[in-house]
């Protein structure tokens, strides 16, 4: 939160530091007064007689009623200013750049303008145009309450099945930024993490173009050697198993939106919103028994033979 990469995040971080400074002064005052009172009071304890029975002082009362009130007005004005600047009023709500859908416990990312549906890795372009508010994000939930929060990008916002929320994101620095679901949503709330990848516009455009291409399955180039899977067979295994009840792979008959879209699974760095690295060995483990990796998740395990598994993994990892 203190290394913001967007003007929205920066405004909030600055405001936080301002509050902290004011709070620090108040705290120092309390500590100073109380410490002085304690030191002198302890010395006085050894003296004869009773202390003066002072029971109040109207002037002091007025002072410490008025001073905080002034302080709070001093805080309220920047509060309203930063509310507007870090979360600007939304325009064109019917034309969002990204639609984010929270699921128990993964994120669906739709790019309506690019015709792309993907999952678990949010790609954003760097936006430098000072006049732009940033990318308009539309947030919804497919099931329970969630919350979208990438501290370095700015505010968090809840995600509900019965409330449409909108947010502007305006990243200005390339890199991978970590966030998380911040509203408790059940068993695997802890592993509903967010991975936001910010790229220069050109890079982002080519990523979007690549994501748009359907899955093309190559025949094995040479005779299948040991350890190397056959994607063509893998495709059949995928389509003949119940995977298609939940997953979609563009260019095939698998079109279910219940689980993450797997068309370009090979392009993602992790599985299960960051719980393990995405590599063939881990993917095989995932398909055999995902519950051992992410207990309680909404996907069954599959007892596939070594060969079937290898081919299926090859098929899924093939498309970058």
């Amino acid at each position: 939160m203190f290394e913001p990469i967007s003007p929205h995040g920066k405004d909030i971080a600055d405001l936080f530091i301002f509050i902290l400074a004011l709070g620090g002064i108040v705290f120092a005052l309390v500590v100073g007064l109380l410490t002085y009172a304690m030191v002198t009071g302890r010395r006085r304890a050894t003296q004869e007689g009773l202390p003066r029975q002072v029971a109040g002082n109207t002037k002091l009362e007025i002072a410490w009623t008025a001073a905080p009130a002034v302080l709070l007005i001093a805080l309220f004005i920047p509060t309203i200013m930063v509310m507007n600047s870090s979360d600007p009023a939304k325009v064109n709500k019917d034309k969002p750049d990204v639609v984010i859908i929270g699921h128990q416990w993964w994120w669906e990312y739709q790019y309506p303008n690019g015709g792309v549906v993907t999952a678990n890795e949010l790609h954003l372009p760097i936006i430098t145009d000072p006049k732009s508010n940033g990318y308009l994000i539309h947030l919804k939930s497919a099931d329970v309450q969630h919350d979208f929060w990438v501290p370095q990008l700015g505010r968090k916002i809840d995600v509900y099945p019965d409330k449409e929320n909108f947010l502007y994101l305006k990243p200005q620095q390339a890199g991978t930024f970590i966030g998380a679901c911040a509203e408790y949503c059940g068993g695997q709330h802890a592993w509903m993490r967010i991975i936001a990848i910010v790229q220069p516009q050109a890079e982002f455009d080519s990523w979007l173009a690549a994501q748009r291409t359907p899955h093309t399955t190559s025949a094995p180039t040479t005779s299948v050697g040991a350890g190397q899977g056959d994607p063509k067979r893998g495709e059949q295994i995928f389509l003949n198993n119940t995977c298609i009840n939940c997953h979609a792979i563009n260019g095939t008959t698998a079109q279910s939106p219940i689980g993450p879209n797997l068309t370009h699974l090979g392009s993602r760095a992790t599985l299960g919103t960051g719980i393990i690295e995405n590599n063939p060995a881990n993917l095989a483990r995932w398909i055999l028994n995902p519950g051992a990796i992410k207990p309680g998740l909404r996907m069954p395990g599959y007892q596939l033979s070594q060969e079937d598994l290898r081919d299926l993994v090859a098929y899924l990892e093939e498309q970058k």
Binding site: V54, D87, K163, N165, G187
Partner: protein, 565 residues
């Protein structure tokens, strides 16, 4: 002293604490002292359970990707910890101390409705047991202490946990409401002859205001709990968005209760601080009227700020600005209190007893909690910090560093009255420092974890820079804290049996409870000293310089004292 009112002698002998009259004397009692102690004992029992749950969570969080607890288990445990601590520990502590002390402080024989008082206690106990029965009935609740819909609805939550949660809190909530009513009526009608409503001790006053808060705040919760049960078991649709209900509606109901609840959990603690600081400073409470009025202000405002728990919902800038302003306003009466306490200590002759140490550190801890609280009133910073470990740190600073420190101070202060024996002061100070260090080590670092991006209610976290280290420090702090609580329980256990005899008035107190024996007899008082000011015992002990001969502000002193500042 011709105007001493005599309370008629009571013939029936009464068991004192420690005498053996069998279990029935406790089960059947309607005596406020026994009930008050039973409240406290119940609270401590549940505190031990909630504390063990907290330790289990801290062990699980001690390192990244720990597998000590499964996610389902962790989620049940954090829910039970939060629910237990709020509803079965802090509320009973606040009610129990009031039930024990209020009649003694106002010179009454008992509460206004003794049988209602007993009913309230048993509802609390059985509500708590009902809640815990869920563990054997197929799974504890797992929705967090505010059980947001729709996750708390049956479509997403099929065990009976949430049902037990709703039922248990409903039963407990009725008990709490009864106690609230009882406080208001008792304080209005049962004061000793001569004691004006403006002359009650501050603890009585805060409990009085708390009674109104309870009466106003619990009904929305109980209504919402019933609606949730209707949803879950009778296929209602109040909070089920998938069939036309509203998930946000639950939040409005819950926080309409939930924020006043925050003050229900702290007002009596304010009162305790306001009793203990003056006695160990040998001065009257500074700015009594200001503290009393600011308590009323807090109570009113607390109904108007609840939606600051909902700033991340996205309810729109107008709505949020209103609640931000109201929330910021609450800082004013709170600030008034802090400064009045400081000036109570200021210029006093301080005795650093364990009770005093707890009360002074309360001021420090509560100030930290208050300052982090301001970052939740300021909407944009709330957008970053809410639902993270920063808020976990904040709430423990106000609940533990605040309320619970005050209660610990209160225990050291009133234990001699209730049992007739002292808690050991030397060990007490060691216990205080263990608590102080353990508490700050556990919770201060959580501010940073939250700002670094760690959400709350997570059973584990990935290996990110420093996350494991900071969490480990917090866990070690928790172990120290656990040790200090264990030490306290052993100290109390031993002191009940072998503690040094206290006498009636070991601290040279100012208020009426110190005018009777320790422990007090069934009728509480044989004689009540005349009440002409807020410190009847001071007046009694200092006939040459009674409060009522001084100017009301206390500014005009009739006599010069030997140690003019």
């Amino acid at each position: 002293m011709s105007d001493v009112p005599l309370i008629p002698e009571i013939k029936k002998p009464f068991y004192r604490l420690g005498e053996k009259e069998g279990l029935m004397s406790w089960v059947a009692t309607v005596d406020h002292k026994l009930l008050g102690l039973m409240y406290m004992a119940t609270a401590f029992l549940f505190f031990a359970v909630g504390g063990i749950e907290a330790m289990l969570m801290r062990i699980q969080l001690g390192s990244a990707r720990n597998t000590f607890l499964s996610p389902e288990m962790y989620n049940q445990i954090f829910t039970m910890h939060g629910t237990t601590m709020v509803f079965l520990v802090v509320i009973p502590l606040m009610l129990g101390s009031g039930i024990y002390l209020v009649p003694l402080m106002i010179g009454a024989r008992d509460m206004a409705f003794p049988r209602l008082n007993a009913l309230g206690f048993w509802l609390l106990l059985f509500g708590g047991l009902l809640l815990y029965y869920s563990f054997v009935a197929g799974g504890a609740p797992n929705g967090g202490w505010f059980a947001y819909a729709p996750y708390s609805e049956r479509a997403f939550n099929t065990t009976y946990g949430i049902d037990y949660w709703a039922l248990g809190l409903f039963v407990q909530g009725i008990g709490t409401t009864l106690a609230g009513i009882n406080f208001v009526v008792t304080i209005l009608t049962m004061r000793a002859p001569g004691m004006k409503l403006t002359q009650v001790p501050m603890f009585v006053w805060t409990t009085f205001i708390n009674g109104f808060l309870i009466i106003g705040a619990l009904p929305p919760l109980n209504a919402a709990l019933v609606m949730l049960l209707v949803d879950r078991r009778l296929d209602g649709n109040f909070f089920v968005p998938q069939s036309g209900g509203s998930s946000i509606l639950w939040q409005h109901y819950f926080w309409a209760f939930g924020h006043p609840e925050v003050y229900i959990m702290v007002l009596p603690a304010f009162g305790m601080i306001s009793e203990i600081l003056p006695v160990f400073s040998r001065k009257p409470l500074f700015g009594f009227n200001a503290i009393a009025i600011s308590t009323i202000a807090i109570a009113f405002l607390s109904y108007a700020v609840y939606a600051h728990h909902m700033f991340s919902v996205g309810l729109g800038p107008g709505f949020e600005a209103f609640f931000a302003a109201a929330t910021a306003l609450i800082a004013v009466p709170t600030g008034i209190k802090i400064f009045n306490w400081i000036f109570t200590v200021w210029g006093g002759k301080l005795q650093f007893t364990t009770a005093m140490l707890y009360c002074i550190s309360f001021i420090f801890m509560f100030t930290i909690g208050g300052i982090s609280g301001v970052t939740f009133a300021v909407v944009p910073t709330d957008w970053q910090t809410t639902d993270t470990y920063y808020v976990v740190a904040h709430m423990h600073y106000v609940l533990f560093g605040g309320t619970f420190f005050a209660v610990l101070g209160g225990i050291f202060y009133w234990f001699p009255k209730a049992t007739g024996r002292m808690l050991p002061e030397g060990l007490g100070k060691i216990q205080f420092w263990l608590t102080f260090i353990g508490f700050n080590m556990t919770f201060f670092i959580q501010h940073f974890l939250g700002l670094m991006g760690m959400p709350r209610r997570v059973y584990t976290y990935p290996e990110l820079t420093n996350w494991s280290l900071f969490n480990l420090i917090s866990t070690i702090g928790a172990a120290i804290l656990g040790l200090s609580i264990l030490m306290l329980i052993i100290m109390m256990w031993r002191a009940i049996k072998h503690g040094e005899r206290a006498g009636d008035d070991p601290w040279d107190g100012f208020t009426l409870e110190w005018a009777t024996t320790s422990p007090p007899p069934i009728q509480n008082f044989d004689i009540i000293p005349p009440i002409r000011s807020r410190r009847p015992l001071w007046d009694w002990k200092h006939p040459e310089d009674p409060d009522w001969k001084r100017d009301h502000d206390g500014k005009q002193l009739s006599t010069k004292r030997s140690d003019e500042i």
